[in-house]
Symmetry: C2
Subunit: 406 residues, 2 copies
């Protein structure tokens, strides 16, 4: 499969923009056309999941009803409509000797995507990788195996798609994943999509670069110069609206000068939202309802209605806390002091640093990227929400008329 | 050292352009001022090298005479004069909800440079890492230990340089390097500079991303539509002028339609240049002087006056050869056919792809980057000659006025 993908890569890279977009639109049509077959396959997966005693939430993730299939097709059309990142000159440099050196955006080559239960990832990931001119190898979870195959069959039956441009690992056993992760001469990038344990397993065994984040321990720091109503609204949004996602707040830091005015109000509203508070000693002096926070709370990604709260002496202490316990994902300062905001955005070393807004905006669609393949907390190659551009690289193309260096 | 570098990083990142450039200029002045001390230390290194029986070529690499110290200082001044990459907005996106999302170029954080015998790397690498706003940890070779220390002492005595911004590993034993390569929470990037064995050792043991290329097996393909005089001049430049460098040609591929006209001329001039030819059967039918090339010759980085030559049926066969045996460094097509040139530059997956020019131009200075920290044949993060920009990343800075996602 690796060799086939590598051979397919130049054919995918060689398709012009219109052809690539036409194929993506045709995939959308093919998905709708294959709705019955996809739903029949999906029924098998859901039946096995029930028999295996999977939770209702997991079975809901698996389910493909008509509206979800339509949403998948619409997603393909949206990727088709995105501007093309390929072929763009990132820089052009005409040298004194007449050489024209162009830095051109090109596909990465071959991308592997390893994912868990949601079968829509099959279409979404294939589309974004293909849009960026890459061959892709997909490996879905065992719960969705029949659904994934039906989706893969539908989208790869489209005319004009180069052979082996979109392959699916035919087995779901773990040895196949291990073998895949060793193909560093065939595959340029691996993207794991799923829980932290999947991502850690991929990163640990991969000889191929991995685009990933392990977890998001996101902070909101309420500065002494904060608008406290705004801080409250941001805290509620960042903690309560979707506590199970990586850009939700896990720790709230409050400047000591506003702690007395802010924390009782926070406690009241968090209590009403069903959030359990865990605080340091200074927090608990102001908010008796908070349980004591232990050292491990500061590193915890609760993914739940639990919030750790700490009172800090100044912005410096807040930044030291974030540096020590944070995961370089998304961190927020609420302040009206521009100089403090500037220090925070300059010195906090996270993929997304917010001034006066919720951390929940760290997302490809919210950032206007059109589609997202994942979020990266690494600092090399791509950082933050990763769209089509994160699946490209550049090469230098140098045109001369016989120049030699001598 | 890792912890100290990590703590120093935000202080280096926080320096404005003028301050950073002023410090680089002061380092240049300090180097000239410390010339006597540096030369005294260098004499010790050269004496030990002679005593240890090192070759004259290696001792020459070690030597720091007055002109080399002046060149080092001039290099620092040139880095100071380069435009600043930091703080640049790579993209600004005002969202419908009023959020302003800026993608801002920022330093990587902490860079480690591991290098061999040339002591000038101490100043060069420190300068380029510092220019990009990073803290740096330097680890030079044991032969140059006294010289490196004297240079490090001179450049770090400059007023205004944040503490621990430029550290040097005080020992040259290998255990220290191993320990360094495990500090993946402290160091963001490792750059090995030296021979293939150093680079392989670093890449194998590093838990930190490595900016590298192992070797350059560079190809020149002479197309059926080539200007043969131009092809000859490019071949001679790419093979003979500095055979020991990574961007020199190792294999020449010739279209069968021009082999008879081209190869005897090539053989004559290569013979005069003292180059040994190793050819496939079709080459040897036209050029009896060539020794037979074995399968292993096609993967060989000779770094010497030896050239492998193969006759191919068409550009497709040339590209398959490059895909199979190449190292994705620098590859050349000589042709007057624009469509063939376009196919070659699109499909050949190398960091630098040339039309009608010598592969020898793959170099930071020749590309106009001002300074080079290395050449990358990886496809992620940075590719080809790497200047200051390759030592930066980006972060998203998002400014709002209380936006929540809901």
């Amino acid at each position: 499969m690796g060799r086939r993908a590598r051979s397919a890569a130049p054919h995918v890279a060689g398709l012009d923009t219109g052809t690539r977009n036409g194929i993506l639109d045709a995939m959308a049509t093919a998905l709708i056309g294959a709705r019955d077959a996809i739903q029949a396959a999906n029924k098998l997966d859901c039946k096995s999941a029930k028999a295996a005693g999977l939770s209702a939430a997991l079975i809901d993730r698996l389910l493909l009803d008509t509206s979800r299939i339509e949403a998948m097709a619409e997603g393909l059309r949206q990727v088709a409509a995105l501007p093309d990142s390929l072929g763009v000159d990132l820089a052009v440099n005409q040298r004194p000797n007449g050489l024209v050196i162009r830095k051109v955006r090109v596909p990465l080559g071959v991308v592997a995507v390893i994912y868990e239960s949601r079968p829509n990832v099959t279409a979404d990931a294939a589309a974004i990788c293909f849009k960026a001119g890459n061959a892709v190898i997909l490996r879905g979870g065992s719960e969705a195996v029949a659904s994934n195959r039906a989706i893969h069959e539908a989208i790869t039956a489209v005319a004009g798609l180069p052979a082996n441009a979109i392959q699916m690992v035919p087995t779901t056993d773990r040895a196949a994943v291990r073998a895949l992760l060793g193909l560093d001469t065939m595959i340029d990038l691996v993207i794991p999509r799923g829980g932290e344990s999947l991502i850690r397993a991929v990163a640990e065994h991969s000889r191929i670069p991995v685009l990933k984040h392990y977890k998001g321990v996101c902070h909101v720091y309420v500065d002494r110069a904060a608008d406290l109503d705004m801080a409250l609204a941001i805290a509620v949004d960042a903690k309560c609206r979707r506590p199970g996602v990586c850009n939700a707040m896990e720790t709230l830091l409050v400047h000591e000068a506003v702690a007395e005015a802010f924390l009782p109000r926070l406690a009241e509203i968090m209590d009403a939202e069903g959030v359990e508070l865990r605080g340091d000693e200074r927090t608990r002096a102001l908010v008796p309802i908070a349980l004591p926070a232990s050292e491990s709370d500061w590193s915890e990604e609760y993914l739940d209605l639990i919030l750790a709260v700490r009172v800090v002496g100044d912005v410096e202490a807040a930044m030291r806390h974030i540096e020590h316990y944070g995961t370089r994902h998304s961190d927020v300062i609420v302040t009206t002091d521009q100089e403090t905001a500037r220090r925070f955005t300059t010195e906090v070393d996270s993929a997304a640093v917010y001034v006066n807004a919720s951390s929940r905006f760290t997302d490809g669609a919210e950032f206007g990227l059109g589609a997202e393949i994942g979020i990266s907390t690494d600092k090399l190659h791509a950082r933050g929400p990763c769209g089509v551009e994160a699946l490209t690289t550049y090469k230098y193309v140098i045109e001369g008329n016989g120049q030699v260096r001598g």
